[in-house]
């Protein structure tokens, strides 16, 4: 697996992740072990202060049969939380301050704005963009206005910064570019 990883200032990236292609992690982003990042259709740029939990899949691939298309960069904004087992597949862009709850799935060509909550287990395959401040919930993926901004419990980030390094090997910051 050939990969080019760029880790920003203060970011924590566990060693036990699968990376393919060119991925950059913004400052203070926390990547748990077991995460899969596939950047075949162009680089993935992950912004600042994101939390990507265990077994999250971020897959940036071309549609089968379109492998020769022009590479596109997948931009993921800042302050997003990807909870355990959420899958992002072929999504076009992700803004800031979103929460992707456990086992949620976001499909191809969907763009997600800011301050959105994708509920646990929601399987989004439509391509109509998710506007700012939307809450998607339930088995029918009902989209409604979110009444509160998604937030991570206070101290969660500090807790992870303290705890993760004591139990997991991290990709070193000194060595920003890692070949295979």
């Amino acid at each position: 697996m050939s990969s080019k990883v760029k880790i920003g200032q203060g970011a924590m990236v566990c060693k036990e992740i699968k990376v393919k292609g060119q991925v950059s992690f913004g400052a203070s982003t926390i990547i748990h072990p077991g995460v899969t990042l596939i950047a075949e259709a162009g680089p993935i740029e992950i912004g600042e202060n994101n939390i990507i939990e265990e077994y999250v899949n971020i897959i940036h691939k071309f549609l089968p049969g379109h492998e020769q298309s022009e590479p596109v960069t997948l931009k993921i904004g800042s302050n997003n939380v990807f909870e355990v087992y959420s899958t992002i597949e072929g999504v076009s862009s992700i803004g800031d301050n979103n929460i992707f709850e456990s086992k949620s799935f976001v499909g191809r060509n969907l763009s997600i704005g800011n301050d959105c909550i994708i509920g646990a287990g929601c399987h989004l395959t439509s391509t109509s963009p998710i506007e700012d401040g939307t809450c998607v919930y339930g088995k029918n993926c009902t989209r409604q206005k979110a009444f509160c901004k998604p937030s991570v419990p206070g101290g969660h980030r500090e807790f992870l910064t303290k705890l993760l390094p004591s139990y997991h090997l991290l990709r070193k910051n000194k060595n920003p570019i890692e070949g295979n």
């Binding site: 909550i117 509920g119 646990a120 506007e131 401040g133 939307t134 809450c135 919930y137 339930g138 009902t142 989209r143 409604q144 206005k145 979110a146 009444f147 509160c148 998604p150």
Partner: protein, 468 residues
């Protein structure tokens, strides 16, 4: 009920004639027969809140409109809301104040201004949505109550003979008992003979001429679907039916009912829940008495050919039992052997027939050879699994029919022959009667002798998948 473990291929025919899975059946120990949810009467035992488990009496529940006073439900996804706190400083220099709001942990709905302002206490006197037509509805209810009462009086005047029995339940239903009591005490507003009894006047609803016009841009404004409530959300509060998601109010949690089941023939309880606990006082499920049948091996079925079928029987009861098989006689299938009872049974009332036994219509697509003679099955012993020396006497078993036995389980060999004309991929329906020995361990008032045993016949239908 743990029905996922049960094979849907095997059904039993209840005494009333319905085909059911074993976990859906009850066993009346007085009639010594199967009962299902159709042939038992369902009664409300207690009302309780599914979230805080508070038990309420029926009058209390009625008074609270069958909703819990303290638990709230999310108006968006209908899960229980939880209370969250934060501290805010209303004015500089003053100490911060702790404020509470409601949050749904499932869909992230949050109580919000202006409908539901954040509260300074955790119990929070959360505002309850008020129906604008409450007054009118109350008027109507009172009016209809008085109309019913008038009817009662009229009927009483016509027919004083049968007083007291026939419409007592109506009195209960419409909450008229209190009114009758008032009448007995001698309150002036009710006249005993009904003469001069006046029903309160209500204003009939009036149609209005001037309906407000729709605003000009109703059809032109771009719809923001995020703001529109779903039908489900509107129907949850039928009196409000807010169209805008901003106007959704928390819903008070609906109460649930624990019900007890009573045999319709002998009027004994088959299931009775314990008050204030997630337990049962009485729980006579068929699953605890009737040997459970499972298919463990079935040779491919071929039209007109005999193939072997191995069924495993498992005795769930603490007493050993014996089974005896019989072919299902389609001509005699509808003869109902009720009522049946034990010797010396203390009846609380004379046995009744089921109001409407359902005729059994069954078509069999094959022939079956059942094991002959009586086959004993040992009692269930929870410690047996830790005991290696646990040997079962297999001397009396006919190896022609008994495949193996182990503890309270026995595997029996059957032979099945589907009809010549069965269609491809159509299930083969076969049936037999299993008589099982039920040992009665109840204490009887009249006949306190040793336990009696009774053979209970149960009609079993197999629905064998048929693939060539």
């Amino acid at each position: 009920m743990a029905s996922y473990m049960f094979q849907k291929t095997i059904t039993s025919i209840c005494t009333c004639g319905l085909q059911k899975l074993l976990p859906d059946l009850f066993f009346c120990r007085h009639c010594i027969t199967l009962r299902c949810d159709f042939c038992v009467s369902h009664e409300i035992d207690t009302t309780y809140c599914p979230h805080c488990f508070e038990n309420l009496s029926s009058t209390e529940a009625k008074h609270k409109k069958n909703r819990c006073a303290s638990c709230l439900e999310c108006p968006r996804c209908f899960n229980t809301l939880s209370t969250r706190s934060y501290s805010r400083t209303p004015e500089p220099k003053k100490p911060p104040q702790k404020m509470y709001y409601l949050l749904c942990l499932f869909c992230n709905w949050r109580s919000h201004e202006p409908n539901i302002p954040d509260q300074p206490t955790s119990s929070g006197n959360w505002p309850v949505n008020k129906n604008p037509d409450d007054g009118r509805i109350l008027d109507l209810i009172n009016y209809y109550k008085s109309v019913t009462l008038k009817e009662v009086f009229d009927k009483q005047k016509r027919n004083t003979k049968h007083y007291g029995r026939n419409y007592m339940h109506f009195l209960e239903k419409f909450g008229l008992n209190a009114m009758m009591a008032r009448k007995k005490v001698g309150f002036p507003n009710f006249h005993t003979d009904g003469t001069g009894f006046s029903t309160s006047e209500i204003n009939p609803a009036e149609a209005i001429e001037n309906v407000p016009e729709l605003s000009a841009n109703t059809f032109e404004d771009i719809l923001d679907l995020k703001q529109i409530s779903t039908l489900e959300q509107r129907f949850a509060t039928p009196e409000l039916q807010a169209e805008n998601t901003d106007d959704l109010f928390p819903i008070r949690k609906h109460l649930r009912v624990k019900h007890s089941l009573r045999c319709r023939v002998c009027e004994h309880n088959v299931v009775k829940p314990e008050y204030n606990a997630v337990k049962f006082k009485i729980k006579h499920l068929a699953y605890y008495y009737v040997p459970e049948i499972k298919i463990i091996k079935c040779e491919p079925l071929l039209a007109g050919k005999w193939s072997s079928l191995v069924l495993k029987l498992c005795n769930p009861s603490q007493a050993s039992t014996a089974v005896r098989f019989e072919k299902l006689d389609l001509n005699a299938i509808n003869i109902i052997r009720e009522p049946r009872q034990l010797e010396g049974e203390d009846l609380i009332s004379t046995p009744k027939q089921l109001p409407e036994p359902i005729p059994i219509v069954l078509e069999l697509q094959g022939d079956i050879i059942v094991p002959e003679g009586e086959i004993k099955i040992a009692a269930r012993d929870d410690t047996a699994e830790y005991d290696d020396t646990n040997e079962v006497n297999t001397d009396n078993d006919d190896p022609k029919y008994v495949y193996w036995r182990k503890g309270n389980k026995v595997a029996l060999k059957f032979e099945v022959k589907p009809n010549e004309n069965i269609k491809k991929n159509e299930n083969v329906q076969l049936g037999f009667v299993m008589h099982f020995m039920y040992s009665d361990t109840m204490l009887h008032v009249i006949n306190p002798k040793q336990p009696q045993t009774v053979l209970v016949p149960i009609k079993i239908v197999l629905n064998l998948p048929n693939s060539f």
